[in-house]
């Protein structure tokens, strides 16, 4: 009772990275709070997954395994998660901020009347005293940028349980627990939670693509913002990325303007990256963007505005026109690298 639950996403029998990242964070929170870490996995052919989940710190693995439960559909998964949560009364429940987690999380929070904070960039345990003097110990601080990234809000759920949060893939680190969990399997008697109407939505067809683009894994990222000016100007960024053996990223403003596809978006509503080198071209540096790249080992900014906020994060600030600077970088690298 009153433990931490992580909802585990699977696709074709493989656990999603975001779920393992949440287990890693959940383990840390469980150690702080002195409670257990529990995983809940719903789908088909799930045998053996508990071993992997235990490596990331899961003490208990709740399993509902049925052909009807894969691929994911909202209503049956919601009914089962709510059933288990009502019985187990977790204090914290974490979901990936994936297309699945952001479909399921709100529905569960509404059914249980518990608060949910989307797209958290940090989760910390802390205390709270409200204006009436009521004191709360060990709440989950759910920290996220808001208002287009111009402010950072710390959200708490003082009275309702579980305290629910979604976190995007790549925001938390994925690490084996220093001491593996026991991974004890508890089979969920899921039929008792399901109504016929929960199965009314049918999947007619489904095409899941292998991930082609993975800027998360790139050692060098050349990223462009609205300041790049056009889709055509982005070609220069692709050229530099290719020469340096990296990938092209983009800010939300650049993606919204149609300069680059969404899969390249770095930031709170895109991917979080930690490359060896991040070259920010024509990016002003709103928190919405910097939340996804500030862990880069080295940051270079190329901007005509020397006072752009990104300058404060950058190791090197080049004040100049990217259309002049980038060709010089390409030329020097071509001549001087082995």
């Amino acid at each position: 009772m009153n433990n931490i639950f992580v909802y585990i996403e699977t696709e074709n029998g493989k656990v999603a990275d975001v779920s393992l990242e949440l287990l890693t964070k959940g383990r840390e929170l469980a150690n702080t709070l002195g409670c257990k870490l529990e995983a809940i996995v719903i789908g088909h052919n799930l045998k053996g997954l508990e071993k992997e989940l235990a490596l990331y710190g899961a003490d208990t693995v709740w399993v509902a395994d049925d052909k009807e439960l894969a691929p994911y559909r909202t209503m049956p998964h919601c009914a089962i998660v709510c059933g288990v949560f009502e019985q187990e009364k977790p204090q914290i429940a974490l979901f990936g901020a994936s297309s699945l987690g952001r479909d399921l999380g709100p529905r569960v929070s509404s059914a249980l009347h518990s608060g949910l904070t989307a797209d958290c960039t940090s989760l910390v345990v802390g205390d709270h005293e409200d204006t009436k003097g009521n004191k709360y110990k060990n709440l989950l601080y759910q920290i996220r940028p808001a208002f287009g990234g111009n402010i950072i809000a710390t959200i708490i759920n003082p009275d309702c349980r579980p305290q629910m949060a979604t976190v995007r893939e790549g925001v938390m680190k994925k690490e084996h627990a220093s001491k593996p969990g026991t991974g004890e399997v508890k089979v969920i008697d899921h039929k008792k939670y399901l109504k016929d109407t929960d199965l009314a939505v049918k999947i007619v067809s489904r095409q899941i693509e292998e991930r082609k683009l993975n800027i998360k894994g790139a050692q060098v990222i050349v990223s462009g913002g609205y300041g790049v000016g056009s889709k055509d100007n982005f070609k220069l960024l692709y050229e530099l990325a290719e020469v340096l053996g990296g990938e092209v990223g983009a800010s939300r403003a650049a993606v919204d303007a149609g300069f680059a596809e969404h899969a390249r978006q770095v930031g709170q509503t895109g991917v979080t990256v930690r490359p060896k080198l991040y070259i920010a071209c024509g990016i002003s540096g709103q928190i919405q963007h910097t939340a996804g790249m500030d862990q880069s080992a080295m940051i270079i900014s190329i901007n005509t505005d020397p006072e752009a906020p990104v300058s404060k994060l950058a190791d090197y600030v080049i004040t100049g026109d990217l259309n002049e600077v980038i060709p010089k970088m390409i030329k020097y690298y071509r001549q001087n690298s082995k």
């Binding site: 696709e11 909202t74 994936s98 297309s99 699945l100 952001r102 479909d103 999380g105 709100p106 529905r107 929070s109 509404s110 009347h113 608060g115 949910l116 797209d119 409200d130 808001a146 208002f147 287009g148 990234g149 111009n150 402010i151 809000a153 710390t154 959200i155 708490i156 759920n157 109407t197 009314a200 939505v201 049918k202 999947i203 007619v204 067809s205 489904r206 095409q207 899941i208 292998e210 403003a253 709170q268 060896k276 080198l277 709103q286 910097t290 990104v310 404060k312 994060l313 190791d315 090197y316 600030v317 080049i318 004040t319 600077v325 970088m329 020097y332 690298y333 001087n336 690298s337 082995k338």
Partner: protein
Amino acid sequence: MGKALKIVVLAKQVPDTRNVGKDAMKADGTVNRAALPAIFNPEDLNALEQALVIKDTLPGSTVHILTMGPPRAADIIRDAMFRGADGGILLTDRKFAGADTLATSYALSRALLKIKPDIIVAGRQAIDGDTAQVGPQVAEKLGWPQVTYAECIETIDEKQIVIKRRLEHGIESVSCPLPMLFTVNSSAPECRMANAKRVMKYKYAKTPGELQELQSDYISDLCAGRSYLCIEEWGVSDIECREEELGLQGSPTKVKKIENVVLQAKESKRLTGADADIDSLMAELIASHTLG
């Protein structure tokens, strides 16, 4: 030809956070809301388009906007009417203020119980919060199935809708019985533009609150004789609800702290675009094995 449907579009008026210029931040670093234009939330426009597509497919269907917000949010209802909606309802009351997504969903769902639509369409998320929670939460409150991330409607009749969804790594088509709620992605078709004839017809569409404010006998008389110019305005007393579940007190999540974004300055080296600067930087990157 199927039966006509009653469609409600959930929409929100939002500050345009996408184009935050320098004047949008005050000297003390807080957001200057007055400097941000209030706009129709972009994905709610995608949702409106899908609703209008259903109306085109099933003639006789009606499309109404439901929005919760301050009195000036009536602007987006008028905008929607110019583009093809039949009318709208503004949920406005001080008691709704300070609501998180759950309290918002509760208020909307109570209004929807009164409207009794067959289909609810909403934008995936609003740009001021980016939570994408209100759609699924409204569906749950009504006990209806939900389909999120819709990109287009494949088929629809009075019993069932088939929707193509855009997922992170692919697409999925699902069939869902009515009544149901779906949320629409920005990758769906853009909303049709305002139609000049409709603008002429609906430009004086007003809420009772706006008419009072205007104090124009001419416009009041105009609206009195034409029910299509009446934008409904509902407060807490117009919907059956438990007041303790509304607004700030009905919100499980509380804001503990708001920090303005101040980026931690680290010591950065300043360079120009001159050849010498770029060459020495690249040489340094190669020497430190950051590159290569």
